[in-house]
Structure formats: C-alpha cells, structure tokens
Symmetry: C2
Subunit: 730 residues, 2 copies
C-alpha cells in the first residue's frame, strides 16, 4: 500500500513565501488558504497547491447595501419585560440592544408585523391598544392591567453582520466599515450576489476552491448595549425572517406565521425548545429556499471548473448538512472547526459531499501564539489531536487544516514539528480507514426532538462552547464519537410506529422539558409503549439526566419502569423508599477506580423497585442504576461529563443494556485510556493510546483472548486482523 | 408577683408510689398520667394531682369489632403499576401490602367502588373490561393495550389500627390481640362509642382528665408485606373513607367522589399535592362530621364534671385544630409532642381551648434510658428544651409533661435534676409571658395552598421526622417559631383579592408544583399582580427554594421580577447571563461567618437583572439574592435548614424586604446565639442564650443603644422594660 500525500490545508499570508514552502514540505500540505485578515500574494498562489479563497456572499459590499437598505437582513426581537404600574405602560423596546447592530423596522407597518403581549396572562394585546413612537423607540400600551408585565415583539433590521461585528469589536477595528448583511430573498440582493460571484470567478483564476463563509443567514447572534453578546443560538433561524419570507411562507405552506412563532411565550425559539409544527415548517421552508439559492452559486463555481466548499458556521442557517435539501446544493466539500470528537464527527459524517475538512486547533492568532507560551500551544495541539483522533478512527475527515497567521506559528518549532507528526499520522490513518467501514459492535441511537437533522449537534448552545447546563450531556456525544459502535440520531416522530430494526440501544438524555429530553412527547402513549415493547423484547435503553421526563400518571420519568429510577417531585414523599443501598460492585462500574463523576446534580432521583440495581449514589440520589426489563434492560445515568472513565461507563452501559456483557471483551482494551478499532476490509486493527503517558493494556482479540502490550504516549499501534485473530508486528 | 406552681404532668406507673411523690415534688408536677403500656394504681391516683387517663375511642374493643366486621374502618389503596405485555393483564393488587392490616372489601361491589386505570393514558378502564378474582386477590383486565401500565384503586378494610400495629410490631408483642378499628359513621360503632365512654366515666371516678388518643380516624399509615412502613401521611384523610362516607358526602355536597379523588393520577392525595376542590370539600365534610361526633363524647366527659383533652396525633384526622369546626368540639385542652420550636407552636397557638400541653423529649423508653447513656439523655433533654424554649417565649404552652416509664428516668439523677431546673424555668417564664402578647416587630405570613388550616404544619410528611426534601423548608418554620415577629399562615385563595393590611412580609417556599410552593396557583394573573402591587407599594416578599414556580410566559419563577432570580430550564440558555458576581458584603449576610448553608440544591438559579443584588452563590447557582421592587423588596433564598446563622439570615431578610434595615437593632442581640423578647404588658425583657456555652452579646434597647452582657450556658436573663429603655439588675 502506497502512502497517500497531501490532505492538509495550510493558511498562508503575504510576504511568507519561503516559509510557506518550508511548511508545505514539513506538513505535506497540498492546499493553501487565506483567512480573516490575511490575503495571499500571487507568488504564493503559484505554488504547487490548491488555492482556497474565503468568500462572503451576503456582506462586505456596503456600497451595494447602502443603495438597498430595504433589503437588509431582519430579526424578530423581544423587548424587556416591562411592568405596568398603571393603565398606561411605556415600553422602551430598544433598551439593552446594540443600536450599532439593531434598527427597528418602521418601514413595514408595526401594527401588522409587531405584537405586544401581556406575559402575565399570555395574551396578545389588541393593536388598537398600543402605539409606537418612532422617535423615542417606545411602545405605549393603553388599557394595560396594572402589575401585569408587557413585552413587544418587534421586527428589526440587522445593520451589522454578527461575525464581522464580533471580529470588529474583539479586535478593535475602529472605523473599519461595519458590514451590512443583505437578504438573498430580495430581488436586488439576489441579482447582486450572482453577478458578484461571476465577477469574482472571472477575476480570480488562481482560486481553485471557493470557500463560502457561508451563504445567506447568520445563526442568531445579537449584542447588548455594552457591545457584549446578548443572545447566541448556533441553530437559530431568528435572523432569517422578513415580511417577504413570511409572506412566501404563507403562500407555500398555506398559513401565516407571527412574531410569536419566533418568540414563543417569551422565549426566543431556540434549539432547546421543543419545536412546534409551525417552527418545523419554517425550518423546512428556509432550508428549501437557502438550498435553492445556494445551488445557483455553487453551479456558477462549477461552471468555472472550480470547487465549492462551505464553512460550517456563521451564515450557515438553512444549509443544515443533515437536512433533506443539503444534497441539492451540490457542494464539493464542507470545512468546519474541530473542537474534539463530537465536532469532528459533525463534519466527517456529513453525507453528499466529496470531501470533508476539519480545521484543527490552535488557531494561529496572537492570543495563543505569543512568546513563552510554547508549552500551552503544544498542549492545546496535542489535546485537540488526541481527542479528535478517537473520532477520526471511526469516521475520518478527508482533509485537515489550520487557520490564522502562519507567521506566528512558524516561530514555535516544537509546534511545527508536532504538526509534522500529526499530519503524517493523519495520512497514515487514512490509508487504513478511508472509505472503509470500521467494525461496529452495535448501533446506538440518540433520541430527541430533532433526530437526524441535528446529528452530533444535540445539547449545543453555541458551537463547542461550555455551558453549565450542557456539559453533563455533551459528554455522551464526545464518548460516543470514538467508541466502536455506530451512532444515529433519531426523532420521536420516527419511532412512534416502530423502531428501526438495526438499532440496538436508544439513549434519551437531557433536562426535563427540553427538546433533547423530549418534554411533551412523553405524553404520547404510543411512544411510551413502543419503547417499552422494544426494550422488553431484547434491546437497551439508556436514560441520562431527566430522560422521558413529564409529570403524568403518577411518575416523572415516564420510562421509570425501564430505568428503575424516578425523580421525587414531592408527590410521593409519603411513600417509603427502602432501596437506597448501592451494590458493592457491578459490571457497569467495573473499571471505575474513583467516584463516578455525574456532572450536574439531578436532585431526588431514587430507585423505584426492589429489583432496581443501584450502582452508584451521591448526596442520597441515585447516579447510576439499571433494571431488567423483559429480555432487555434499562440503565440510568445522572449525567456523563466527558472523561475516560465515563466513556468506559457508557460503553459498559451499552453492553449491559443489550444483555451482552460477555461480548464486551471482543476487540477490547482492558485499560480505559486505550481504545481498539478494527477495519475488516483492510484487515487492520488500531490500538490507540489516548493519553500522553505510556500505557500498558491487555488487548482482546475477537475470541476474547488477551495479549498484553505497551504503548508510548499518544501512540497508535497498527496490527493485522484475520477474522477474530489479531497480530501485532511490534 | 407570686410564682406559679404545677403546670407539669408526670407519667407514673404501678408500684412507683414513693418515687412518684419524690418526682412530683422535685418537678413541681400537679398532674399524673398513664402511658401506652402503663397503668396507675389507686394509691397513686389518690395523690394530690390531677389524673389523666389515656382513652381510645375507635379501637381496643375487639369483642365488639368482631361482631360488626362490616363496620371496620376503610381505606382506598392502589396496586402496583402492572405492565400489560398482552391484551390480558393480571394485577396482583394485594402485592406489597400487609395482609395483617389490609383486607380487600369484597362486601361492597368492586364494580361500583373500585377503579382500574390505564396510567399510560390516564384513562379509567370501563368496568366491563375487568373482573376480580376474590380467591387470588387479582384483577384481570381484558382488552388491555400491550405495554401500557395498569393499576387498581381498591377499597379495603383496615383490620389493624396503625398505631397499635406500629407498637405491636416494634415492641414484638407477639400474640397480643391486634386491635381492629371501627367506624364512628356506622350505627353500631357510634352507639358503642357513646355507651363505652359513659361506662368508663361511671367506673373511673378518679380520672380528672380524659385524654382522647384520639378520636375516629387515623392519619394514613399502612405497612408493607415485610411489616415495615409503606406509606405515611400525617395529614392524610385516606383512612376515613367508606361507602357510607362517600354516600353521605354526595348527599351533603351534591356530587359523587370516586377512588380517584384519593388516588389522583397515581398519587395518594397527600398534603404535598395541590388540593383539588373535591378534596377540599371532602376535608371539610369529614371535619364537620368528626367535630359533631367528637362533641358528643366531650359533652359526656363534661357531664361528669371532668375535662376532655385531645392528643394531637394518631386518630386526629378531622379534628385539625386550626380548622373551622374544631372550636365546636368543646375540648378543654390539647396535648402534643414537642420536637422543637415548630411543633411547640403548632400546639401552643391552637385557639379555642383552655390550655395546651407539650410532651417533651426524651420519651422514657428503654431505647433511650439504658445504662451508660447518661450524656445522650441529657443532651436530648437540653436540645429539646433549648430549641422549644425559643418558641415558648413567643407563644407559651400552658403546661408541659413527659411520657413513658418514669421508673426508667428515675435511675438518671442528672437528668432528674435537669428537669427540675427546666420545669422551674418553665414556670418562671409563664409568670412573665402567659396571656401577654410579646412585642412583635412585624407580621410574616407563610403563603401556601392550605393556609391557616395547616398552621405550623407546612412541609411535614410525618410529625417532626426528617426528610431530604423538606428540611430546607422546615428550617423557615423553626427559625420563625422563636423570632420576635407574628407569624400567620395564609392560603392563595385568601389573598387573590387583596392581602390583609396587617401583613408586612409574605414567604412562599417549597419545591415547584407542591401545595407549598403553589403549583398551578401561579397561573392566576390576579394572584401574581396582587402580590406585585403589594410589594411595589412597600411590603416584603421572601421566596425560598422554588417560589412561585410554574413555567409560563417566559419564566419559571412567576415572581422572578420581585425576587431578582429565576431558574434556568434550558429555554433561555441562549441568553447571556452576566450577573454572577456576589456582592462582597450585604445587610442580609452581615452576621454570617461561614458559607451560607442552603440545604438542598436548587440547580440553575440565576440573577435575571443587573440590579439584582447577588448576595451568595454556590456551584454557580444564586443562593441568596434581593431586589428593589418599588417601595418594597424581594429576597430569594435557596433553602433555609435550621441553624442559628440561618435564623439570623431570615430575620435580616424580613427587615430587608420591608426596607426597614435601620429598625433591626431595636430590642436586638448582636450575637446570633442569643435572642431578645419583650413583653410590654409585664414590662419585661428576656434575653436567652440558645446554646450551652457562655455567650457575650450586645443587647440593643428600643432606641438602638447597646449594652454588653454575658450569659452563661442556656441562661435566660430577665430585665425590665419601660417604653424603649431596658434595665438588667444582674
């Protein structure tokens, strides 16, 4: 087998020619890219490499935007809650918003497009009872009920692109023009976008790959009056609205949306809210539109014989890569930022593209690459690589790359050497695993309201950022991203009438009432009974946090009978709970050497049944439990922050829930810091050390026979597999 | 002022004459009582003391009960949740119940009185679709939906009185007869109860006080098949049902109750469940009936010139002393067990009786009074006395007493000496405070679903027992029981149209959805706006735990605007929360020397407003906060387990919420372990040291001028008060 070359994209910059050549050589790069704030000079563009050029579709052309201010992008916003202390209530609806970004839309009649709500009664105020003062940006509510709270849902123009705003403010760009985003749904903007791209293609023949960053609508992101982030939803369709869009929606779907479909009962309609039918329709409607418009641009790129790739982020709304219209865009590739295993899989699993590319960390920016920070730079690179590698071994990216100013990185030779190693290792991995399905022990499905559409995107608020309320669930995905199981994401709708036969284990996880736990879905008896029967007949169900949570019929966890655990809300305090002694040992925690780290506390979980296996407790709460349920089993975990112990606990939970404990030790590493992947088609086995320390482990073959091996820090050891036998030449 | 004598009830027993005289002398006892398992001989009954005789109305007469088995007391019970795996579902409905206590009622037609529920759909199964097998105690459901869960609500006979059952099993009474409870609503039982009491009065002329233990219906208490407690609700009306009662209810109230009024949606209808209108009607109906029947017995006692007192517990259901029918019973007194300040106030605040008596701890039983346990006995006595004394100084009992075998206690001279001191101290306190209203700085109202009816009874599952889910709230009551404020309990219904003008501060506390927090009440805009206006106009609102919790209109805490705090359910994760820096100091925590002990964690509380005063945080959650709201304020506390620090935090929160911080140091102790009470009518001030250690403190007079004093361990120091001036002779 010959080694493959390239597969690495290097950022470059002006006046960096010799160094670029050197880095290309050392990292085996076959592509060069510009970045935010860097441009490539012609000499560099003439090197033997593909040239990626970052391309913005809907911003960066203020000369056009100023001529068509009625085509600016729009956003539904909600004012502060305002207390009426008398029968007239004045709402300063712009209070707290950044006027550099937000401008109320007085062009379209507020009486038609805005809504005032009495949030104390959850009722809409009749428009005759309020009026707008355009000078003071106030709404005055008449006939208000004293001591009720009122809000205004108002339509606004977004006069500053959120990503440019972020960069502008963060980097203190002073009087650099604020880029106004314009709307692909509007006639002039649409025409301008097409013509501008044609113009670009004509004038940039050295560009091989147009890197769209991205298309039309930014995820919802607005700032407060102190120039800090006020709201962010990486999945939010809030910035895609406009009267034109809503009218087109009505024409297409046959009914009218209102502001309250975007600001539901006082909440911005985020990915954590259970999606209403109307909101699903809107998502579908915009995805279809965006795909149609994006295809036009991609087709132009193809007409010039070039490739079109999309950055997964920024103005990505409507392009969701696991949605039903994505394929029709016809992209050649997708590039995304890799924060770890989950975000790697989010990119690498994307269907319908020729290649996927992951931009690894650290980003070559001065906040990281400063003098004396050598060790931290290296640590970040190693952590990023090792955590992502787990996922790469399950579902490889086709390319990797870096971003930022290479002149900064070039000053850190240890780092440059390390990337030489990892790029080489990446290519070696690809020779064994690319286009080859790794051996999977079972299929695990994450069950939530969005299912496949948000594959590897559950529980995220903003891309790869930490939040107190999500890390206990994100750990599930991060663990799964490198485990030797197949992973799917399924929605409640898909399984009501039957669970696909290839699924072995279902995981339901999240806080009560969220789209991830499922909320109102659990009031559906068909859903509940379908899962019960399926588990009863010999499958596994793993609940994390507040799974199947909905107060109904005497329970909070509707599948408490499967999980063995419910959460006490106070209504059954009078019932004695005797089952509170954890077992001294259990299959699931067999490799656990310290206390189980359950992350955030779900208070008052308790074992409901004498035959509930209580596996771990903390603060008098059950943190791990299991229960036999017919031929299958349920497993409850309070939370699963990502770490090696918890990854093992999840793997064991999967086996335990399927009642296949004896099969755990087939192609298996006894040491939790090492993992095994098998590639039947290439007859290869990879044993990977996920730490920087030397690890000894027993590796089990397909018969369950073990051999002890030792791996150096972060080593990946390749062996040969024939059926169930394994052999290492080392 | 002459010292009062007596006021102490001593338990005695056979063959304990000389020792009884000695104890009477040393403790100043003026009454003697028997106890469970003890009887007094005639010689003792002839001592110069009132004789109390324990009297059981509805049990202890099996010879009668066996002749009228159709008059046994009854109970609605719910079977285990039973999974249907096919279309026939067999429910072993007696599974898990103690057959020594419970016997299914096949006498009344199950098709009429029982109900089978599909708990997965929350629907009642048509009676044609099930049948009962009386041999096997099974219900067979036909046309069951596979993988739904079914339960049976079945009517049963309670063939063993719960308290006697508890004593019998606990003390291993072997073949001692199991006392069968009979029902005052039944004709023979009613007649028998009257006749038996007359007979008793005729034959026990030396009894001065009939101590009813208690009347007719036991609080709900049943055991499991392992002879351990299965369910206990000290407030439960579950054991008062019968076809006769339900038919009488229908005749009186005009509609029919069903089993599902007692087992609502799979929950036994406990005091933590929001009471439905029907359940309130039933409570009213039974209270009225019990009061009417109890009056008959009390009248008989009075006809014999004797006193009638009631034990607050056991068969007390229907006699609730703060209910509207209690006065009509005509009791002379109430005796109850004192576990601390809260339970003392529960007894001492009871209206419409001539006297209240508290039975103090420890109980003279062998589990405490065994050789070598001297220090533990003394500690329990001291703790009990010191914690109860705080409440006594606010609302005195008229009498105190002890229970059990005095022969056991007599062997512990240190204990006997200590009780000599406390009984003397008790009498001294009475000379200053009895029938005199102590000076109160304000009126605090605890707001919940039961209001006045369950005065000092909020958050309790079983009398004075600890539960993980309640101690964080019970601390509020325990703190209040000794603070120099007036305390009331009000219901949501009472305040919808306006809050009584004498109330200064409202406290709403409890877990979301419970009767104590309020659950669905908070969907009522009138309730919300009434409280808002009231606070806005200059009152205080203190929320503890999950106050005003109901997901509606964009919030979870409906009064988050007053409290400054809401709880994140996941729906507003996308909104940035910048307010997370606790203040370095604050009026409320000024006396706090260590971390605030908030008890159980309410996860994801956060400050909603820039002007929310964040006073304490833990685990990234806000544990104490406050906010200005018009002329008043809101204060949020995560929880308030009882301790001295938290008592002070509550007191300061009360002042802060009223915006009367400057008035805190009027009649006030700087040291949190000491408290001050003032009695304007007797011109006395009491400074009490609530610890066993010497304490130095600054005592502030009514002008706010302080003098430093020192108190010995648990000392109570009396001084004189003239208007705002104080003077200590010590």
């Amino acid at each position: 087998m010959t080694k493959i070359k390239g597969r690495v994209t290097l950022p470059s910059q002006n006046n960096f020619y010799e160094e670029t050549k050197d880095l290309m050589n050392r990292w085996g790069a076959d592509a060069l890219r510009d970045s935010d704030g860097t441009k490539l000079d012609d000499q560099i563009k003439d090197l033997d490499a593909k040239i990626y050029t970052t391309y913005f579709v809907a911003r960066g052309h203020n000369e056009f935007a100023y001529q068509h201010l009625d085509e600016m992008q729009q956003l539904y916003l909600m004012s502060d809650y305002t207390l009426a202390t008398e029968t007239v209530c004045t709402i300063d609806f712009m209070n707290g918003f950044l006027t550099e970004q937000i401008k109320p839309d007085y062009h379209h009649d507020p009486k038609v497009w805005w809504d005032v709500y009495d949030r104390t009664t959850e009722t809409r105020v009749d428009p005759v009872d309020w009026n707008v003062n355009e000078e003071t940006h106030q709404v005055e509510v008449h006939n208000a009920i004293p001591f009720h709270e009122y809000t205004v849902n108002f339509l606004s123009y977004m006069i500053w692109d959120p990503t440019q705003m972020y960069n502008h403010i963060t980097n203190d760009w002073g009087d650099k023009p604020k880029e106004i985003p314009f709307d692909a749904r509007q006639p002039h903007s649409h025409k301008y976008m097409v013509e501008t791209l044609i113009d670009f293609m004509e004038n940039n023949p050295k560009t091989d790959v147009v890197r769209f960053t991205t298309f039309y609508y930014h995820f919802t992101l607005f700032f407060n009056d102190k120039r800090k982030e006020k709201f962010v939803d990486w999945f939010g369709y809030g910035s895609s609205v406009s009267p034109a869009a809503l009218e087109a929606f009505e024409a297409e779907k046959g009914y009218r949306l209102t502001s309250e479909d975007f600001i539901t009962n006082g909440y911005y309609n985020s990915t954590f809210k259970e999606p209403t039918d109307a909101y699903r329709d809107y998502i579908d409607f915009q995805q279809k539109f965006v795909a149609m418009r994006a295809k036009e641009l991609v087709d132009i790129v193809h007409q010039y014989g070039k490739e079109a790739v999309m950055f997964l982020g920024d103005n990505w709304i409507g392009t969701e890569p696991y949605g039903k219209y994505f394929e029709s865009i016809g992209l050649d590739g997708v590039v995304g930022s890799v924060g770890g295993g989950t975000t790697l899989r989010l990119i690498s699993d994307i269907p319908h593209v020729k290649y996927t590319e992951g931009r690894f960390l650290p980003y070559f920016f001065p906040d990281t690459f400063f003098e004396g920070n050598d060790q931290a730079i290296l640590d970040e690179a190693v952590d990023n690589w090792v955590s992502a590698r787990r996922a790469l071994l399950r579902s490889p990216l086709n390319r990797i790359g870096y971003g930022g100013y290479p002149s900064l990185a070039y000053k850190f030779p240890t780092f440059v050497d390390y990337i030489s190693e990892t790029t080489e290792q990446f290519r070696e991995i690809l020779t064994h695993v690319e286009d080859k399905k790794p051996y999977s022990k079972c299929t695990v499905a994450i069950l939530n309201s969005f299912g496949k559409l948000r594959t590897w995107q559950s529980y995220m608020v903003a891309h790869a950022l930490h939040y107190k309320q999500i890390y206990s669930y994100l750990g599930i995905l991060e663990s799964l991203s490198g485990l030797d199981v197949d992973v799917e994401f399924i929605s409640f709708d898909e399984i009501k009438d039957g669970i696909p036969s290839h699924i072995d284990v279902i995981i339901n996880a999240g806080d009560a009432g969220t789209s991830f736990s499922g909320g109102s879905q659990w009031s559906n008896p068909e859903l509940v009974s379908t899962i019960r029967q399926w588990v009863y007949e010999g499958h596994g169900f793993i609940g994390v946090g507040e799974p199947s949570a909905l107060e109904k019929g005497g329970h909070f966890f509707q599948l408490n009978d499967i999980l063995g655990v419910d959460k006490e809300l106070g209504y059954t305090l009078s019932t004695d709970k005797y089952f509170n002694q954890p077992l001294s040992s259990h299959f699931i925690t067999e490799d656990l050497t310290e206390n189980f780290n359950h992350g955030e506390q779900i208070n008052n979980t308790y074992a409901r049944f004498e035959d509930t296996e209580i596996i771990a407790m903390d603060q008098e709460n059950v943190t791990i439990a299991a229960r036999d349920y017919g031929q299958g089993r349920g497993v409850y975990l309070m939370g699963l922050p990502y770490n090696f112990s918890n990854t093992r606990i999840l793997l064991r939970s999967i086996y335990y829930s399927m009642k296949k404990e004896e099969e755990l030790t087939r192609f298996f590493s006894s040491n939790i810091y090492c993992e095994v992947n098998v590639y039947p088609e290439s007859h290869k086995i990879a044993v990977v050390n996920n730490t920087n320390q030397v690890q000894k482990t027993i590796i089990y073959d397909g018969h369950g026979n073990g051999i002890e091996i030792e791996l150096s820090g972060s080593e990946i050891l390749w062996g040969n597999v024939h059926e169930k036998d394994i052999e290492f030449s080392a």
